[in-house]
């Protein structure tokens, strides 16, 4: 065995794959924090997205309806987070923690009700893989980006759209103004509460989409706690990327690579799996400790009080 058994085009293809749920959730984090609300609940929103996708696909045999269901459920959780933190001015972290625990309990409960097994679903229709014409045939590049589940390509489009929306449109300017300086935004005639709701609901929808990638893109099952902390890793990617979609995408590639490496090493059986499984979490801690000081959050995250 040599190093190229581990590091080859397959690994890079897997890195892009594993970056997808993290990048989508990190975008979710950005939309919420840009309007001034911390969304620790990304993890739970992803988990509910993963579950909703499977259950909708189970009942309709249509995985795309599952994806839609995941986005809707994520958006509803976002709405709940917005109601708790914006309207009721509840603690953002407490609300997010509640959402995370709710997701863990609800998905385990519901899968036992539906499939009779705690937090494990039956197998359902999944999304499958598409080949990009021409690109698939290119050497190396084709192997890395040419053949993925449609959600990977959707993620790249969403990253670009989010970047343009946030930084090149008046709407994005208003969205950011609400987080940076709500009082000034209010004076300028922006409906602060409505903007916050939009940002946080979008956050939930993106997290739901990221979550459904985990259950429907390749595995076609739901399993207990299958997000495995990726919602928190997405928060780290968001910070590492400076609360900018393209930056968060880059950071997600790093975490996706770690995740892919972890899976590759596990399948080779050179080290005990538990040691390898620690890798993504350790890397996340190192990245957070190494770069965070250089970045500044886009908001003070205080609830807005209208005078």
């Amino acid at each position: 065995m040599n190093i190229f058994d581990i590091i080859n085009v397959g690994l890079f293809a897997a890195a892009i794959r594993m970056a997808t749920p993290i990048a989508l959730a990190a975008l979710g984090g950005i939309f919420s924090e840009r309007v001034g609300v911390v969304n620790i609940g990304l993890e739970g929103m992803m988990l509910m997205g993963a579950f909703s996708g499977v259950i909708v696909s189970y009942y309709t045999a249509n995985p795309w309806l599952g994806v839609l269901g995941a986005i809707v459920v994520g958006g509803l959780l976002g709405l709940m987070h917005a109601f708790l933190t914006v309207t009721l001015k509840g603690d953002q972290i407490v609300s997010g923690t509640g959402i995370n625990i709710l997701a863990l309990g609800f998905t385990a409960y519901a899968s036992e009700v539906v499939w009779g097994s705690r937090g494990a679903s039956g197998s359902v229709a999944s999304l499958g893989v598409i080949d990009l014409p021409f690109i698939t045939d290119l050497p190396v590049i084709g192997k890395i980006i040419g053949s993925h589940t449609p959600l990977v390509y959707l993620m790249i489009i969403v990253v670009l759209l989010a970047q343009i929306l946030l930084f090149k449109t008046p709407f994005g300017l208003r969205l950011r103004a609400v987080g940076e300086h709500p009082a000034a935004a209010d004076t300028a005639g922006i409906n602060v509460f409505r903007m916050k709701y939009i940002g946080i609901i979008a956050s939930g929808m993106l997290a739901g989409l990221g979550g459904v990638f985990l259950s429907l893109a390749h595995l076609s099952i739901f399993s207990w706690g299958m997000t495995g902390g990726r919602g928190f890793i997405a928060l780290a990617a968001m910070i590492f990327g400076g609360w900018i979609p393209l930056g968060a995408f880059g950071a997600s590639l790093l975490f996706g690579f770690t995740d892919a490496l972890q899976m590759r090493l596990q399948s080779m059986g050179i080290l005990p799996p538990q040691i390898i499984l620690m890798l993504p979490y350790i890397i996340t801690v190192i990245v957070l400790a190494g770069v965070v000081r250089k970045t500044k959050p886009p908001s003070d995250y205080k609830p807005y009080e209208k005078d």
């Binding site: 620790i40 709940m80 708790l84 309207t87 009721l88 001015k89 509840g90 603690d91 972290i93 407490v94 609300s95 923690t97 509640g98 959402i99 995370n100 625990i101 709710l102 997701a103 863990l104 309990g105 609800f106 385990a108 409960y109 519901a110 036992e112 009700v113 705690r118 937090g119 495995g228 902390g229 928190f232 928060l235 780290a236 910070i239 005990p272 538990q274 040691i275 499984l277 620690m278 979490y281 350790i282 996340t284 801690v285 957070l288 400790a289 190494g290 965070v292 000081r293």
Partner: protein, 355 residues
């Protein structure tokens, strides 16, 4: 005269205490109401489920003993959350700190023989406190030195603790057999049980004592003052000559140590060996209990009994009604969510009266 006065002040304390727990009680009631809707929607009778839950938790001496047994580690993790929270840090990693503490205590429990029991127990508990403290110190120093957000790092360290101990108990410290567990600890390291045949051990007494100690530290000592000042307004505290970062690090070390002692109590008092996955999520229960307890050490004791009851009564509930045990986790989450929004009911009442 003095009697009247003291009676008046007692009434005052009672009334303000009652007023303070009203939002908590409403949050709990609302959570059970929403939980009932979930049960109905999935074809279970909330009355059957809740009465089985209550019977299981409080129906007989055994139930009460098991409720208190389940409440014990939650008291520790709730105090761990609470103490860090007061300093302004959101330590959601008590789960990892508890696991590390449990493992360290197990190793000390296994490694020595022939020690006098009090000494052996003390050493094992100290090892638990130390391991938990280290697991609090790491995210704390990363926060103080590099600004790494503790909500993310404490969660990451919980995953690391889970996999690290899983490795240790599956490889170097694995007892012969199929189960991922260590060999039993020495008899001299076992905590005395106080209500056999329940698993209730003296750990509960330590937990209650710790709640009192934390209350005392927060209210009566300089450290407590600094912790509260750092949490309320860090820049004002800094101006007042308090080293906020040092205080936060100390608070998280102490919090981690508390959770570690809780883990040690589980291993030395309940399981008598380290078993992979011995905690069903006591660390996360602690967050809910600290919040429901009004972020007050004495409130934590009451709230921990409620959450201990959910865990212990859940067994009978599942057996009697076949409802999935995870309804308990849903209830916990709902309690957290309704506590997060103290104005929840007021909001709807006001909407109503406006309409």
């Amino acid at each position: 005269m003095t009697n009247d006065k003291s009676r008046a002040s007692l009434m005052h304390v009672l009334r303000s205490g009652l007023l303070r727990i009203v939002p908590q009680l409403l949050a709990i009631a609302t959570a059970f109401l929403v939980g009932a809707l979930v049960l109905i929607a999935t074809g279970y009778s909330p009355i059957d489920v809740y009465s089985a839950l209550i019977m299981g938790a409080f129906g007989d001496v055994y139930g009460v003993g098991q409720t208190l047994t389940q409440a014990t580690p939650i008291i520790f993790t709730a105090l761990a959350f609470l103490f860090s929270y007061k300093s302004g840090l959101f330590n959601i990693g008590a789960e990892g700190q508890l696991i590390m503490g449990g493992f360290a205590a197990a190793i000390v429990g296994i490694s020595f023989s022939g020690l006098p029991a009090p000494l052996h127990i003390l050493l094992a508990v100290l090892a638990g406190a130390l391991a938990g403290g280290v697991w609090g110190f790491l995210p704390a120093i990363l926060k103080a030195r590099f600004g790494a957000h503790e909500v993310i790092t404490t969660m990451m360290f919980t995953y690391i603790a889970t996999y690290l101990t899983s490795y240790l108990v599956n490889y170097p410290f694995k007892a012969p057999g199929w189960v991922a567990q260590t060999v039993p600890i020495a008899d001299s390291a076992q905590l005395p049980r106080i209500l056999p045949p329940t698993q209730l051990s003296v750990s509960i007494l330590v937990a209650v004592a710790m709640a009192a100690v934390i209350y005392y530290i927060l209210q009566k000592t300089t450290l407590g003052y600094e912790v509260r000042a750092s949490g309320l307004n860090p820049s004002a505290a800094e101006n007042g000559g308090i080293n906020v970062k040092r205080t936060m690090v100390l608070a998280l070390i102490l919090g981690g140590a508390l959770a570690g002692i809780g883990g040690a109590g589980e291993i030395l008092g309940v399981h008598n060996r380290f078993i992979q996955g011995f905690s069903p999520g006591y660390g996360f229960d602690g967050i809910a209990v600290a919040l429901v307890g009004g972020l007050n050490p004495l409130g934590v004791l009451l709230a921990a009994i409620l959450f201990g009851a959910l865990r212990s009564g859940g067994m009978l509930m599942t057996r009697a009604t076949h409802v999935p045990l995870d309804i308990v986790v849903i209830l916990q989450a709902l309690v957290i969510i309704f506590v997060a929004a103290p104005h929840f009911l007021r909001y709807f009442v006001r909407r109503r009266s406006k309409a």
